[in-house]
């Protein structure tokens, strides 16, 4: 089915919020689909004895958390640097 050419109804004062919330909800759906799939894979692998779910679900050690910290920081930085409002490369104002 092709989309129509009729403008979508607006619910927020700023129409940009209408659209960006649509993106958020679409992403949330994808996250849930992936989460569902991951749990299904884990269950199959555990049933086949490939992984140990108890080990997977256990609280990570301080050592593991420290090992992951750099990656975690990079992830957070990539997410939050959008809020600086600054140009990443020198350009026109």
């Amino acid at each position: 089915m092709q989309p129509t050419t009729i403008p979508e109804q607006q619910f927020f004062d700023d129409p940009a919020l209408d659209r960006v919330f649509g993106v958020v909800m679409a992403l949330a759906t994808e996250v849930y689909v992936l989460r569902d799939r991951q749990r299904a894979i884990e269950k199959i692998l555990a049933n086949q004895g490939v992984i140990d779910l108890e080990t997977l679900n256990a609280e990570p050690s301080d050592e593991e958390r420290a090992t992951n910290q750099l990656d975690r920081n990079e992830f957070v930085n990539h997410l939050m640097e959008n809020l600086t409002g600054l140009q990443a490369s020198k350009g026109l104002k």
């Binding site: 089915m1 109804q9 619910f11 919330f21 759906t29 849930y32 689909v33 569902d36 799939r37």
Partner: protein, 340 residues
């Protein structure tokens, strides 16, 4: 042209379950956050209401359209669906039937292409209807059984007409409850009727037939039926069509015959009417508001009906109690009889 990639059944179900869970949150948490006593203009300005309205509109969009939408998922099985629907002696289609403008002007329920234009529309609608009422999703069928009980209380019909039967969900409790009765379901939608007839055939049902017909002008003889029923028909119709449906029902009902319509009609509060009219626009059902403004009792009296009763309908246990707070449709059952 290459279409979008297929979606596996697990991912489709996960996405649809997610959408339903969000809708349940909307029904119970977000709706109850709205201040029902505030002036309507104030409610409209609140962030709570804006999210409430956005989600009502767009959860329905996600349900039917896009990557995880029902239409895209069912479209993968198009050939199989059409094959299932070939040749069914329980079904009479009317290729000459003119579909009314009000029916084709908008894609009702945000169902892409409406209920009529696509061969798989019945199957798409059936899947969508499983989660029409989030809190009653598991027991939605129960609603139809409740209506069947009301419609046939102390009464045993032998010829039943189910107007706007869709894919037959509302017809099934009648043909199952009255195996000796002759039951006919009519609808405008050929794709929905094909699914209804397919289901009946699969279940080896002997006492039902489906006809493609407009409830405003049916092909049946005068006084042919002793029970006429509809479920969620009237709110889809403009006022003149509602009057025409009642007049047609009166024509084909035998003297003493009964008529039962389950619909969304009694909306006693200003807040309720505000929410209902918003739903009408957001769900592409433009006549919900005009219907609740009609004086149905007077119209039925003018047309010669007797023993008219218009009462709230308890679609599942406890929904009519004062402490029931979640969003719900204003379910109403309209009963009337043709004078002897």
């Amino acid at each position: 042209m290459v279409g979008p990639p297929n979606i596996d059944a697990r991912s489709f179900v996960a996405a649809q379950d997610f959408i339903l869970s969000v809708k349940t949150h909307w029904t119970t948490k977000l709706y109850t956050q709205l201040d029902q006593n505030a002036p309507i203009e104030e409610i409209k300005q609140t962030v709570d209401y804006q999210f409430f309205a956005w989600l009502e509109r767009h959860l329905q969009r996600y349900k039917y359209s896009g990557r995880y939408g029902i239409h895209h998922f069912q479209n993968q099985f198009r050939e199989e669906i059409i094959e299932n629907f070939s040749d069914n002696d329980l079904l009479i289609l009317d290729k000459e039937l003119n579909l009314p403008d009000y029916y084709t002007a908008v894609d009702i329920h945000q169902h892409p292409g409406g209920l009529w234009s696509d061969d798989i529309a019945g199957t798409v609608y059936e899947r969508g209807a499983r989660s029409t009422t989030p809190l009653g999703a598991a027991t939605h069928q129960d609603l139809h059984h409740r209506l069947t009980t009301i419609a046939t209380s102390q009464y045993k019909p032998d010829k039943i007409l189910d107007m706007a039967c869709g894919f037959g969900k509302s017809t099934q409790p009648f043909y199952n409850a009255f195996p000796d009765a002759n039951v006919i379901g009519i609808d405008l939608s050929a794709p929905c009727l094909k699914l209804a007839a397919y289901v009946a055939k699969q279940n080896q049902v002997k006492n039902v037939n489906y006809h493609q017909a407009n409830a405003e002008k049916t092909p049946f003889k005068n006084e042919e039926f002793n029970l006429i029923t509809s479920t969620m028909l009237l709110h889809e119709l403009p006022p003149e069509s509602i009057k025409a449906v009642f007049a047609e029902a009166h024509r084909v009902l035998a003297p003493g015959g009964k008529m039962t319509h389950l619909d969304f009609y009694l909306v006693p509060t200003k807040f309720g009417r505000f929410i209902h009219s918003g739903h009408s626009k957001r769900n592409n059902e433009p006549f919900m508001e005009s219907f609740i403004k009609m004086d149905i009792k007077q119209i039925l009296e003018n047309q010669g009906f007797k023993n008219i009763s218009i009462e709230p309908f308890e679609e599942s246990d406890g929904t009519l109690t004062s402490d029931y707070k979640p969003w719900r449709f204003p379910w109403t059952v309209i009963l009337a009889e043709k004078a002897i």
